[in-house]
Symmetry: C2
């Protein structure tokens, strides 16, 4: 599809959305696998000044209903496979006023009783040569600046969904900063492999279009499809969630020969163990860039791209820097502060909370003034993440505040223990959590997934950790499982892991 055709399709969609009563400020929700339809909906809603609400495809009908009840959109667009869940979410809605109207994304053969998308050729002029000089009607520009443009619901740790508002300025500034940081250009081919309802991938919708690069869309992630698509389409850059990278690295069909077009591989969402980074860089013929960010920050806050001072270091030290959380992205003002609000020393060990301000930071949570007020202090958004800072300004996230384990008065950062486990060749994934302990208050517990062909026992893994960690950090128990629960964005869901252990205990789950 050329950008000329994409432009026409977005225009047709604007006309259709208007016909459905979508005006400035109205909501348009969507539940859809990765598809050009999602890219088009991002652009059409932004052009109309509407607010796009991409819904996690793993949500149940009840969770979809909670999102719809919270933001009351005018439309709900669904791919065929989500129609049933969408219908039951809509059926259970008890909000006053008109419920959202359900729209199928299918053009030619919509399911009975569900209105379909516009066929492009019904609205647009016949295809013509791109250099013919024919005018394209400009897109409408009914929103902009500090108007909301998207609402992303986070899984949240309490039951109620929490909608993060992002403005036109938020996402546009992020896109421009990412273009500058990553050197994006029309030569780039981006693989949408991570879900487009999540910002880890969705930001590229704007940035890649802006520079005239090419979008390649993978409807759902499978390792063999990923290798084949990268090779066939000449993909140059993508952002995978860590679990996808883990699967690629361990896939039997892993084939570096299919990755020759790649120039950068990005990931984030969790600290990267140096062992895993080495495996990634052994497979991919390009540098790895660690990213760190939040939905609330559009998302990137830091990138592990090398500063000039790093480029002078030995190759191995440089690789260690690429495994760090990185240094602040353009447009992000970032501090790591202690409990008194003072910057921690840049000594690579003093830990504080990451707080940020700048044009990519959300104005707040939708209809949740208290949650918004709690997140901001002195104009800085408080991330809830703990980090230390190297003299060179590189951050290393050590933990979420609520994942820190307090055992007998000692603070244990779960990621440090996980990194020790990742150094063991049999470990594919590891999650370290606090479990109740009568003597120490909390004890360190690890949940581990082994590589498919590997074997290892609890005692062996505990021994392995004892050689690498101070005694109070060594897990007192290790449990082997076949898989770990995940949030919608692909992060390991530590709350879900903790909950069963804490039932009936006074302290409860943080």
């Amino acid at each position: 599809m050329t950008y000329r055709e994409f432009h026409r399709r977005v225009l047709s969609l604007c006309v259709r959305f208007r016909d459905e009563g979508v005006s400035k400020g109205a909501g348009v929700a969507l539940i859809h696998h990765n598809c050009h339809v999602v890219l088009e909906a991002y652009f059409a809603t932004a052009a109309l000044g509407a607010v796009f609400v991409p819904i996690n495809t793993l949500y149940s009908a009840r969770e979809i209903g909670a999102v719809l009840a919270d933001c009351d959109p005018r439309l709900l667009i669904a791919a065929r496979s989500f129609l049933e869940r969408s219908r039951s979410a809509l059926g259970a809605l008890s909000t006053p006023g008109d419920p959202p109207r359900l729209l199928s994304s299918e053009t030619l053969l919509p399911p009975p009783g569900v209105p379909a998308y516009p066929a492009t050729d019904a609205c647009a002029a016949p295809h013509s040569m791109p250099h013919s000089g024919e005018s394209l009607h400009p897109l409408p520009l009914e929103g902009g600046g500090d108007d909301p443009v998207q609402l992303y619901y986070t899984s949240g740790t309490t039951g109620a969904p929490k909608g993060v508002i992002l403005t036109h300025n938020n996402v546009a500034t992020h896109a421009l900063a990412a273009i500058a940081e990553l050197g994006l250009s029309e030569k780039d081919v981006w693989l949408h492999a991570a879900p487009l309802f999540h910002l880890a991938d969705a930001w590229a919708t704007w940035a890649i279009t802006w520079v005239g690069g090419r979008h390649v869309v993978l409807p759902r992630f499978e390792t063999s499809a990923a290798f084949d698509t990268i090779a066939r389409e000449g993909v140059t850059i993508t952002n995978l969630v860590p679990t996808m990278l883990t699967r690629l690295v361990h896939a039997p069909e892993a084939d570096a020969g299919k990755l020759q077009s790649m120039r950068l591989i990005l990931s984030g969402g969790a600290p990267m163990a140096l062992e895993l980074l080495k495996r990634i860089e052994a497979l991919f013929p390009c540098p790895y860039v660690q990213t760190y960010g939040l939905t609330e920050t559009s998302p990137y806050l830091t990138l592990s791209l090398p500063k000039q001072s790093i480029e002078r270091l030995p190759a191995e030290t440089q690789q260690a820097y690429r495994a760090k959380t990185g240094r602040p992205m353009l447009g992000v003002e970032l501090r790591v502060i202690d409990a008194n609000g003072r910057d921690v020393p840049r000594d690579g060990s003093s830990v504080g909370e990451v707080v940020v301000r700048g044009p990519t930071v959300t104005p707040g949570y939708f209809k949740q003034p208290e949650a918004t007020a709690a997140a901001f202090r002195d104009g800085f958004f408080h991330t809830g993440d703990l980090a230390h800072v190297e003299p060179e300004g590189y951050l290393t996230i050590v933990d979420r505040i609520k994942d820190v384990i307090n055992t007998g008065g000692e603070q244990v950062y779960s990621t440090e223990v996980e990194n020790a486990l990742y150094a063991h060749p049999a470990v594919e994934e590891a999650a370290v959590i606090a479990v109740p302990d009568d003597e120490w208050g909390e004890a360190v517990k690890a949940i581990v997934v082994l590589c498919s062909a590997a074997e290892a026992h609890e005692a062996e893994l505990i021994d392995f950790c004892s050689n690498r960690l101070g005694s109070f950090k060594v897990p007192s128990s290790i449990e082997l499982r076949n898989h770990l629960p995940r949030t919608g964005s692909g992060k390991i869901d530590k709350k879900a892991l903790r909950t069963p252990f804490w039932q009936g205990h006074r302290k409860g789950v943080h």
Copy 2:
């Protein structure tokens, strides 16, 4: 000076400005040669939410007074050499209320009776190692978004000064887009050689600081100082106005050996003759980038950076593309439209007016709603510039609308005639204007400056043009002069050239 020290100096300045009553929205004017003081004033005013008004150093006391009367700033900061002119401008002010307070930029030995700048060590902690972890107090952030941050007065073609408002978003988006387009990084060393009161250079204040590059400041432009400074400081990039480039290329001390650190040389403000481009690229060991922009657009609208499709062309064709006005910069939506508002065909010959919209476009002229309304139609800012567009999307500006010559019903674009003259080896500069003509309404006249050692006569130059141009485009008269009048931004002042010829004529000067 390290950025740590710069930060402290800007903080001290914020404190001093506050003591002088500068609060959000207040004006701070400055008349100063290029100096770190100007960079600091840009940052301190932005941090306080104040509006910075940099004044053209060529302005007379009367012109300075007109600017002060129009925007009524709280402060006027002057370098020693501008104190006398500043005092007489202030003395003649007849606006109600307190006049602006005059402040000398000198710290140690201010002239008698004029308050001086703060000495940094009076306000800041003693210098410490950059990696000591010592906290820097963050700058205030009292303005932002769509708040005005600078007011640039354009020479204007009518008597009254016209202040172009730029907002935080305008200049920040431009800086970020320029970082992305030009690949700016901490490795860059920018030479402030063009005046810092004009955006052709001033935008780099933000962009170079943002990436942590190095600023090198040339108090006033001289060819030998420019060569020596570039060599000594390892300058990598700068934007010179065309007249500076012309002087460098023709300087007897021109020395390519002193330019080895340069990676990009930018210029703009006037179309570039291919002959001059070839001379520039023969002297500089780096590509030339033609820029086009306006104060109203922060400033760049187009850059002649190569698209992928251009990079496949032969070297000579690529060079010709670098002499074109370029393709739109990131963040700029640009159209070239005919009198009916329709895009002209992209055929490299159909001419229309350049109109633009986007986040770098001014909200309008200060206190001039009528001029603002006249400049915008359908949300697009009308530049008053005429251009045609190549199939690849590259613009070539052919003229200002008001510089087009109408001779016997034929339109002659002055730049086409100038380019023909530039091909003559004896021509250093050429300006082509309309003069009154009894028979044809207007006639084509050229004013030419010859290279220092060269000789050429009117008849020879007219002959030279006849071999290159259609007969109605050939100048009917050519006048040799020693220099051409210029506007504050270094452009040839065609209005000043035309005025004497049109005195007493009905049509008047456009």
